[in-house]
Amino acid sequence: MDFVVPTVDLGSIAPALLVLATALLVLVGELFTAPGRKGALAVLALLGVAGATAKSFLLWGQSETAFGGMVALDNYGLFFGLIFLIALGMTVLLSVRYLDQMDMDHGEYYVLLLLATFGMMLMASGTDLIVIFLGLEILSLSLYVLAGFARTDLRAQEAALKYFLLGAFSSGFLLYGAALTYAATGTTNLARIVGFLAQAGVAGNPLLWIAVGLLMVGFGFKVATVPFQMWVPDVYQGAPTPVTAFMSVGAKAAGFAGFLRVFLYAFPALSVDWTWLLAALAVLTMTLGNVVAIAQGDIKRMLAYSSIAHAGYLLVAMASNSQAGVSAVLFYLVAYAFTNLGAFAVVVYLARQGQEALELSDYAGLGSRAPLVALAMTTFMVSLAGVPPTAGFVAKFYLFGAAVEAGLVWLAVIGVLNSVISAYYYLRLIVIMYMREPSALLALAESTVGAIFKI
């Protein structure tokens, strides 16, 4: 038996390594910065983001695999990497003031953000189930901790615990899926799985079906599809707001990165079956996310349900199982990243010393108190609702276009109708910002309920 030590091609994962290196630098730098001066670490982190971004652009267009097929350098991975870096960069920006106000200004925060991003990038560029799993674990462990970063906050602790327990539970499923894949195909490498399936076919290999199902559960948890979405509202609500922003964009994108890579690349042979399942999940996810979001009074929780709904839309594109679908997912994620981060940025912006504006009623009269912020929030809401001329519209356009092209017209119809439902609660925030007076808080609460039942 001969062993070939693979070429250690660090260049191919250079952006991720840059992020990792930054994390280590920040960890070391933490020792040398006095409390209250941790902003410098944020600057350091941003420099790392900038470096990684630049490197990603330099690598754009290259296509190779490295480490014996464990990771790939391709535009797909780089593009997702850029989404993660956007999320990271904006989260860091959001965090500086927030951490200060919430009295949790510690350098480890940035370290964990950077490490989480590293994990995400591995999920996007890994081409082996084990690498993807490890990336997911790096990401998840970082996020468990970040969710509970406000250590004295009971809600944050609860969020962390729930996230942790459920995350570990579901990664058990994912791992079991990987194990059964290994059992069924003899490998965990995606390329070799493709090769094996192309050669041996899928018939008469029932293990494979169980394996695919379990993988779907694992990824489904990460991207929060029904019925694996239950953690999302609680965790989003309990976690520090910038972390929520980061999770809602970065972690979701990372989940989709792995999901798409595994399913569209490794298991197209089974696509006839999993597309239907994904379509069904998409319907459930969109509908549940949107319908329940209507009933929420906490903005973070509302955005959490909204992010569930958006996962549903993304599943629509995924179910179309095509190049167009992948492009749609990518574009959608970019648009979603900007708008969702923007929305959370407004929430963060409105936070005051030790206290956050989380009730929808806190936003009453914002239109006259802070017109520009309100305008920004309006834009984000409109974009999330997918109304032209916003990016959110173009994204939905691509997405449902992909579905229609794949012949899933019914799915697209359900999707667009869902976006109408979603418009209701996005608009409600606009209503509250512009059309309610801040003084009458009690009246507001009642009339909001009234309006809900009226519509």
């Binding site: 084990i130 799993f133 490890l134 674990e137 462990l141 468990y144 901790v145 509970g148 250590r151 004295t152 009971l154 809600r155 602790q157 609860e158 969020a159 962390a160 615990l161 729930k162 942790f164 327990l165 570990a168 539970f169 058990g172 791992l175 079991y176 990987a178 194990a179 059964l180 290994y182 059992a183 003899g186 490998t187 965990t188 293990l207 509202p233 609680d234 609500q237 309990g238």
Partner: protein, 100 residues
């Protein structure tokens, strides 16, 4: 040689017991142990498959999984300790502020 399906069934049984444990126990630590049972079951699958496919990859992967489990334990136990400090309980049903 014991048929591989026996091993797979055994690991399935263990995995199932682990999942059921997570669902029925309230003590966070025990839930945690149930997760370990699940991971162990997965490891058994990897090893059995590797053995019958004449592949050593399974063994290597199991080593990696062990590391992951260890890391999870570290974070998880720290989390449980922190929660116990502020709430004085490890009962997950008591951790129920966030809902609806």
């Amino acid at each position: 040689m014991v048929p591989v399906s026996y091993y797979l069934i055994l690991s399935g049984i263990l995995f199932t017991i682990g999942t059921v444990g997570i669902l029925v126990r309230r003590n966070a630590l025990v839930i945690f142990m149930s997760i370990e049972v699940m991971l162990n079951a997965v490891n058994l699958t990897f090893l059995a498959a590797g053995r019958y496919l004449n592949s050593l990859d399974g063994q290597v992967i199991v080593l990696l999984v062990l590391t992951v489990a260890a890391a999870e334990v570290a974070v998880g136990l720290a989390l449980i300790v922190a929660i116990f400090r502020s709430r004085g309980t490890t009962d997950v049903d008591e951790v129920n502020l966030l809902k609806w």
